[in-house]
Each structure stands twice: as structure tokens, then as C-alpha cells.
Symmetry: C2
């Protein structure tokens, strides 16, 4: 400790919102170099190396082979798959001295696809899974929470190559199992949830989430075992009413509904002025709310889009983002609305939207595109806007009185909603994505023409999977999971050292004994951090030891006069006094047992 | 081998000029992703990891502590030291989504300086040496020779921090010794040469060169032990003549010298028309040649500069580049000369240059700057241009008839020139820079205000060193050094495996025995590459084995019928037949002995 390049800080970093960020900085493990970009100090680097080693061992055990791609890459392969454009401002782009477009890679699907195409040509060479542990770049709009959402970070990314779907399924399963072993070894609780494929494309995708209140991802689970990222939850839609039944429904009627721009005011007025025929009170769920959003397409074009959903639901922007990709979505601005005088704020109804609306005179284009929540099934009847201030239409029937350009399942999922597989009511929770696996299928192989000859000599397109682990993010999650009010508290598997030997006082005999014990621990194969600082007070040393979070502390101090030293367990706070050599024996046995 | 992601290529890559590039690509160790940017395949990555491990072990043994900085960094620290500008087009620059200037770091002096300033404040905390093994970026104008001159490459860079010069000297020596151990362990011959500090600044600097005909660096050595990079050779200048002697020299005379734009034609005409008074023939060394070059300053300004040197010397652009930094230099273009009508091509003389020339009317600025080779000492007498076509001046005496803006020691060094320390005639050789150590002094600490309190409580500026090893380049040098006509031939210390077991033929018993032997070798701690391909011919397997370059090959084939297998040594071609178990014993003993 007297020469180690580490300084614990007494103050929280100004921008620290979460425990892992705060303590990793205060304990001198990492240091901010720029927003979302961190330097690793010696202790941090040791933990990182251990996390990487676990990932590497399990990847190798799963039969994946390690390679290493450049971070700085030419534009062309990413152009071929459209990701140069689709990534939008999240991609760090630059030009070299000759004016060639280049990028800092956020993931490497394209390069792996090209490499396998370069080297392989036959089905006999497959299956193949390659991986790398590599520095990745993403120009996050809001880098935050230290390592949890950075702009330069370390990922393990793996890619599988198979001749057919069955092969892909097996490769996917092998990675899925390796992920479970990795997170288990790292001591990280995880939930595997169904996910959307988003930017990656592909048929099947699951996320590994570390459940955690500060997580940015919301997921759902049911008593029956359903689990999904909230973006991937499919709403259970009512069955459409047969056409013969629909025609029997009463015709729609427009009523005056002054001053009812909100769902609440509309429901209140409806119950007062236009009560339901069956005497049941109208609720927000009887109204059809039309939400105006804006898509910004990759080319820069802005498009106003309207989404209709029951009035008791909110639009979930994250769910919309997932389906709107590669367009970026936002709430429509006042300016967007000015462009569309047919959209009467508070009274928007289907009649002017999508297939129901007239083409817009000025542009000759069709009406604003209109999408419906799955609950607005054919034959359902709604109170909705009449496209005039202070007027709504009652009994407007989907499929009879209006249609849409499609279904968008982007309303918020609520606690208690039914799981789509019938496994019971959903519970909502938050988590941090630490792994994501994708059955990509042929998207990249097609775009980059990766084919091999099959047994019959025919060229067939390879099918791929891609599998990522946020290595630095997983490390932060471990810190998040184990830190307490006093500092970090590493699991033994990834701790920067196994035992922190602290010599206290000024007695040279104490330091000599502490050094002897530290050497005894090291010669038994344990990793030791020895606090040999001669003029530092015991209080500061103990506080530092708690901040640094080495699993066991061996305190050598005044007790030595009566023949005892103290072994402290960081995570539990447990303290035991033992004779010095017994302490060594005890620690060696404990650590070796814990390491498995 | 049946599942390993490697394919040997029969053809040389189109752009391969050197053996390491050719064989690393053909053996499937690396693969080009973009000019000067390479992907590491599994075998290459194994070698790289071993090279890195040697570097890491010796850095740790030398007391350096490992950290890891980002590659993507903000502009500001590099602005503070002027390197943002000085690096010119060699720096990869980019902007993030908010328009902030960023760069991909070529070296990290600034960031290390800031980090130490962040954490340390007292002389008691020094000395300190930190290092990292990290991916670096440099936008080379001419990336070439595979890993030897790349745009994305791995370096070990270390930085020392001391309170005084004596401390810096000790830190510098510790790194210097570590470098010698590293290159010795890697099996790389090296020469330590005095170097210029170039872009880094600082007082003392040495390069570690791997002597090699394809090297881009020229260095000199003398029988007496002098060794320097050619850029750093100081010319032994004659002592200036005392002023009293100078005045005794005959006055200069202008002669007609028609059609003598070259030194050769001038010398011939001079001997014919104006022979020396002492009867000795004029030689090129009696003429003063004035070479016109252009400096492009970091801000973009172009400046024409003239350098005077004896006519028997050529300008060495690399020596000029080293002293002109941060300006970039080139031969003057016709256009540059058009800007300066006073420069009469072929007949340029001192009278219009530097302090001798009149300020230029159009700009009001001084005459073109003029620098002299050290051999043009005060009192030396020259034949040189008279600034008119077809006329030269004879007996023009430096210090009496003309002066200059300074001395530039940038003429080429020739085989046989005297060593500056008097240790004998210089021999010229070529090498590849694999390490470079700099006693930086206070340049960075001053620019970034790195101070600590000394024993008296006074804030003093820290003094620094910086120490680099080109890790990927060193790997390429090892390949360059050991490859032969058949492929790579790794030293055991960095080989991707120790033994390549090759099973030949179709006999299942052969494969079973080969596998048994491979397992026996592995269980003794050796790393084995097993060629288990069932349908590949022995010829192809042997050729692959030679290309891949594993130090020992164990051939299990037909000989098994008579109870023998064959052990081949890749580097020497030696072959011995042994009983299978004896072969294992022999290989284990040989490898363990070789690994030390």
C-alpha cells in the first residue's frame, strides 16, 4: 500500500448517481477521462482481468475460438448492411488522412461474417463459433452511471456460423449455457428474458438481466415462468368479432363534448351526458386515444405518425423505439402539429388518419400513418375524437368504421397484465442488461454474401448468431450488487486480492509479523494486499480496507502482545481473533474453498 | 486442426513486401482489415498473448504498475502540450455527437501526467512508474510491411515520475534494463542507439533497434562502441578559424561558369578554368551546395528554407525531419521556387539568403531562412553560387563573407565518417525500432502543471520519462528473424504451441496413438497442436506444419508399424526417430529446458 498507485477519495464524484460508480471511483479502481470514458487504475485492472478470465474460460469451454478484430474499421462493410446509417449518431465516425470514412466499431457482425467468408467454403467446416474480448465504442447520447453506460467499454462478442437452423439452435444453446455459467461464477444473479432483436435483426433473442432497482431495462415475469424485456411483451389481444356480428352493432354518433381534451374530462362528461345503454359507467378503457409521435428516419426525414390505443394506456417510448428502429422516435412537437392542421389536439380521431383520411393536398401524399394497439381489435367499439374541437364520436367500431396502417404493440405494460402465454399476471421489475444473445439468421450472411457449399455441392447462405456480454458493465454490476455504505465488497472470484493484511500502530515487531504473515499467505498461493504504511492511523487503514473491498482483512496490531490477530470478513462484517499462524491456516482454507 | 479456425494460404498476399508480413498472413495468424489495420486469428492471438506476458512480467519485475487508459480521448490535454497540432495528419481526429473534438491516442504522456497530478501531491509518493499495454493509433501516410508499420497497433508504454534528475536517471536505467531483459527473452537481437527526442521532447533518448536489412531506420556504429540512430549523429565540425586568420584569406572573386548547374559540372569547369592556387584539384567537397526545401508548419503555413552543405554531401530528409519537427519537410516544388525569384536554380548563393539577403519587398519579411551544415565552419572557404545564371563565386569565406540563421546537421552520414566521440569510422546498418526510451524531463509536467511538494514544502515540477515498446511490431520482428522459405519458425517462448503432433495416413491406430501422445504431452504441461484431419494428405500436413512454425513436430505415421515416431525441429530441420514414449520424454525435457 505504501507504493501501490491508489488513493481512496473521501468525497463522492460529482456525477455519481449509483453505488458502483461512486465506490469504483472513490476506491481508486477507475477514473474518468471523458464523459463515459474511464481509465483503469491498478486495482481495477486486476478485477477486470479476473472477470475477463472467467469469460474466456467459459467461452473456450463452450468451443468458441478467440480472435481479435480492430476497433477502427472501414465504412464499407457497415454500409453493406445499412448499419453505417442505421446507427445514426451512436456511431463514432471519422475520416483518415486520405478522406476515407472509418468508424469505431460498436459490434463486429460484418467483420466476422467477412472473415469466415474469406477462410471457409464448405459445410464441413461448420459449425464455428468465434469470439473476442474487445474495446467497443458507442457515442451514447447520455453516458451515465460510470461503467454502466459508457462510450468506450469492453465487450465479449461471439458469433456462430451454421449451415442450418438446427445448427444455429445448438450454437445458440451452447452460448446460452455458457452465459449461465459465467454469471454464476461471477456471483451475479440474472434473469433470462425474451427480447426484441432491435438493431441486430434476427429471429430469436434473449437478454440476461441483472435485476436491480437502478436498471434502465424494465422486464416482466409471471408466476408461470414467463419473462421478457418489456419491449418484447406481446399483448394478448381480444379475438376479432366476426363480420356478421360487427354489422349488428349500433351506428356511431357524434356528440358535442365541450372542453374534453383529456381522457379524464371526456370520461366524466360521457358518464354525465351520454351514459352507456347498459348502465355500466364509461371508463378510460372505453376511449380510443390517438397519440401523435414523430419518426426521424435515418436519412433525416421527419414523419408524423399517430398511434391509437385505449385511453387507460400510456405510450411506452422504449417499446416504440424498439419497433420503430432504425427510425428515432420522439413526442411530436408543436411545430410538427402545425404541419398537420387536420390533427385537432385533444379531439383527434381515426377519420382523418391512415387509410381513413384523405391524401394531403399540399404534398399529394397519403394521410398521416395510423397504427393501432392490438386491443383495438376488429369489432371493438370506442369513444374517440371527431376531429373538431369539443366533439367526439361514440360507438366507432374498428374494422367497420375505420382501419389503420397496421398494429403497433407499444402501449405500456402494467403490473397485473396477463402474460401472453397464459402463465398468469405479470410482475414488473428493473434490471441491467449484462448479456444479449441473438439468433441472427441470415441477415448479415445475405448482405455480405457468406455462402458455403452444402453436402450436395450447392452454395447455401450461412446462418448466424451473435452473443454479447458487457464485460465492464458486468464488473460494475458486481460492484453494484456487493457494495455497502462503507465501500466495495468483492466476491473472492474477482477480488483484486484475497486478503488485505493491515499492520497497525508503530511497533516494528507488529510490521515484521504482518509481513511474515503476508508472505506465508502468498506462499500458499493467496493474493495479498499488504498495508505497510508506517505513519497512517489504524482508523484510516481500516476505512481504506473497507473502501477497497478485499474479501478478508487480517489485522495485525496491539492484539499481537496477547498472541492474537483479527480476521475480518468484508461482506458480513464478521470478526474473529486467532493466533497468527492459525489465522493463516484459516484464511488459506477459507479462500481455497471459496475459489472452488 | 480439424476444428481450429486457421487456413494456410498458398499465395503471398498481394501487398506483402517482407517475410513477416507474408508468412503471418499465409499461416493464418493475422488478416488485413484495412490498410495498416489487422485482425488477429487464434494462432496469432496466442503468440501475441505470450509476447505481452513477457513484457508484463518484466515491467512488473521492474516495479512498474499496470494501468489502462482509453484510446478515445478529449482534445484538451493534447492541446495543452501542442501535440494536437504538432501531430499533424498522423493523428486520427474525430468529433463526438456533441461536436467535441476527440482523438485516438498515439501515446499517452498527457493522460498519465494528469492522472498522477490527480492522485499524488508529495515527493514521498515518488518515484512512480506506470505502464499499460494498449492499442494505439497513428494515421501513417504509408502503412506497410504488415505489422511493422500499422495504423492500429499494440504498444507497451510506460511513464516514470521523479522529483529530480537523479531519480529520472534511475527510473530510466530501470526501464532500459527491463527492455534488455524483454528483448533477450523474446530472442530478438537488439542494438541500443542514441536517438533524437523528436515529437516527445526531452533530454536523453535511446532506441532499441532490431538490426535487419528491411529496417526503415538507419543507424551507425563504430569499432569503439558508438551507436546512434542516423538522425542523432552529430557531425564532427572543424574548429572555427580565429578572426585574425580569417581576415588573411584572399578575397572572394566571381567567375563566369556557364552551364554548371550541377556540382559535377562545376567541379570540372573549375579545374579546367580556375585551378586551385596550390595545384590540388577541386573536388565536390570544395563547393557549397544550397539545397532548397519547404517546411509545412503545423498551422499549414509553407516556408521555403535553404540549407548550405558541402557539395559532396546529400541532404538526408530523415535527419531533416527529426530537427524540423513539428514542421513537415519536403523538397521545394517548382511552385515554391516561383515564389522566390531571387533563388536562381543551380546558382543559388549565400548573398541572397538569411542574414545576407535583403528583406523581400513584396512581404516586408526577411530573406529566405538559411542554415549551414556544421562543416561550413567559420573561416572555411567555398565555391558557391553567385545568384546569376552561369556565375559562381570562388573563395567565399564563412563568417567573413556570409553568415546564416543557424546550423542544421542534416547532411547524410556516410560509411567511414568519423564517430563523433572519436571511437573510429562509422559503419552504417539498418534496423527496426522495437523500443524507444526518453528522459522527457519537465516538458509535459510543465505544460500540465504536475507539481508535488518537496521535503521543504515547496511545490516543484515533476520530471518524467516515457518508455515504449512496439508489442505487435516486436512480434513481427521475431517472425522476420526466424521465418525461412517454408514458413514461420517460432522461438519456443512465444510459439502458439510447443509441439505440433501430425498423424498421417488413414490407419485408425495411428490416429489413436497420435492422440494418446498428444494427451501425454499435454498432461506434462506442454501445449500441443494436433493435426487430426482424417482426409488430408501427409504432404499437405507437413507443409502446413512448416508454415505454422511450431518449434517441434511429432510425426506419427507409417513408422509406427516398426515402433517409431519422428521428432522434427522446425528451426534446424533436424529429424530423429524414437519410440513413441521416448519421443514424449524427449520433447518434454527439451521444451522445459528451452523455456528455462
Amino acid at each position: 500500500m505504501s507504493s501501490l498507485f491508489v488513493r481512496t477519495l473521501r468525497e463522492d464524484p460529482a456525477d455519481a448517481e449509483v453505488a458502483s460508480h461512486k465506490w469504483l471511483v472513490r476506491a481508486g479502481y477507475i477514473r474518468r477521462a471523458a464523459p463515459g470514458i474511464y481509465t483503469w487504475l491498478p486495482l481495477g485492472l486486476r478485477v477486470l482481468a479476473k472477470v475477463e478470465a472467467v469469460v474466456r474460460e467459459e467461452m473456450n469451454a463452450a468451443g468458441a475460438q478467440e480472435v481479435h478484430f480492430p476497433a477502427l474499421l472501414p465504412r464499407e462493410p457497415y454500409e453493406a448492411t445499412d448499419r453505417w446509417t442505421e446507427y445514426g449518431p451512436n456511431l463514432f465516425r471519422l475520416q483518415d488522412r486520405k478522406g476515407n470514412d472509418m468508424l469505431l466499431a460498436p459490434t463486429h457482425e460484418e467483420m466476422f461474417t467477412l472473415l469466415v467468408g474469406d477462410l471457409y467454403s464448405s459445410y464441413k467446416e461448420l459449425p464455428l463459433t468465434l469470439y473476442q474480448i474487445q474495446t467497443k465504442y458507442r457515442d451514447e447520447a447520455r453516458p451515465r452511471a460510470g461503467l454502466l453506460r459508457g462510450r468506450e467499454f469492453i465487450m465479449k462478442d461471439a458469433y456462430s456460423f451454421d449451415i442450418d437452423d438446427a445448427g444455429l439452435e445448438a450454437s445458440y444453446e451452447a452460448q446460452r449455457e455458457a452465459y449461465q455459467r459465467i454469471f454464476t461464477r461471477l456471483g451475479l444473479e440474472f434473469v433470462i428474458v425474451t427480447a426484441t432483436s432491435g438493431a441486430m435483426g434476427g429471429s430469436r433473442s434473449e437478454e440476461f438481466l441483472f435485476p436491480c432497482d437502478i436498471g434502465e431495462d424494465t422486464f416482466v415475469r409471471s408466476p408461470g415462468g414467463y419473462a421478457a424485456n418489456v419491449e418484447a411483451v406481446a399483448t394478448l389481444a381480444p379475438a376479432p368479432l366476426p363480420a356478421s356480428e360487427i354489422t349488428k352493432l349500433p351506428a356511431a354518433v357524434v356528440h358535442d363534448t365541450p372542453d374534453t381534451p383529456t381522457i379524464e374530462s371526456l370520461v366524466a362528461l360521457s358518464n354525465a351526458e351520454y351514459p352507456r345503454a347498459d348502465g355500466v359507467a364509461w371508463t378510460a378503457a372505453d376511449t380510443l386515444k390517438n397519440v401523435v409521435v414523430t419518426y426521424e428516419h435515418p436519412g433525416g426525414e421527419r414523419e408524423v405518425v399517430v398511434i391509437g390505443m385505449p385511453g387507460d394506456r400510456q405510450l411506452d417510448m422504449k417499446r416504440l423505439e424498439a419497433v420503430a428502429f432504425p427510425a428515432e422516435v420522439s413526442q411530436a412537437t408543436a411545430d410538427d402539429l402545425t404541419q398537420h392542421p387536420e390533427l385537432v389536439a385533444g379531439y383527434i380521431g381515426p377519420a382523418v388518419l391512415g387509410p381513413n383520411g384523405a391524401p394531403r393536398e399540399e404534398s399529394g401524399r397519403g394521410a398521416v400513418r395510423y397504427f393501432l394497439d392490438p386491443r383495438v381489435a376488429e369489432g371493438t367499439s370506442w369513444i374517440t375524437g371527431a376531429n373538431e374541437p369539443g366533439r367526439h364520436v361514440y360507438g366507432l367500431v374498428a374494422g367497420r368504421d375505420f382501419t389503420a396502417d397496421g398494429v403497433l404493440d407499444v402501449a405500456e405494460v402494467k403490473e397485473g397484465d396477463p402474460a401472453p402465454d397464459g402463465s398468469g399476471p405479470l410482475e414488473l421489475a428493473r434490471g441491467i442488461e449484462i448479456g444479449h444473445i441473438f439468433a441472427l439468421g441470415q441477415k448479415y450472411a445475405k448482405a455480405l454474401d457468406l455462402k458455403v457449399l452444402d453436402a450436395g455441392g450447392k452454395a447455401v447462405t450461412v446462418t448466424m448468431g451473435s452473443y454479447g456480454i458487457g464485460v465492464t458493465r458486468a464488473l460494475a454490476c458486481i460492484a453494484e450488487n456487493t457494495a455497502d455504505d462503507a465501500g466495495l465488497a468483492w466476491p473472492i472470484q474477482v477480488a483484486p486480492a484475497h486478503v488485505h493484511v493491515v499492520a497497525t500502530g508503530k511497533d516494528e515487531a507488529v510490521f515484521a509479523e504482518a509481513e511474515r504473515l503476508a508472505e506465508a499467505l502468498e506462499s500458499s498461493g493467496l493474493e495479498v494486499l499488504y498495508d505497510d504504511r508506517p505513519k497512517t492511523s489504524p482508523g484510516v487503514k481500516f476505512a481504506d480496507s473497507e473502501v477497497l473491498g478485499v474479501p478478508y482483512t487480517l489485522v495485525v496490531g496491539r492484539g499481537l502482545a496477547t498472541g492474537v490477530v483479527e480476521v475480518r470478513t468484508r461482506a458480513t462484517g464478521e470478526r474473529v481473533e486467532l493466533a497468527p499462524d492459525d489465522a493463516v491456516t484459516h484464511l488459506v482454507a477459507t479462500v481455497i474453498a471459496a475459489l472452488g
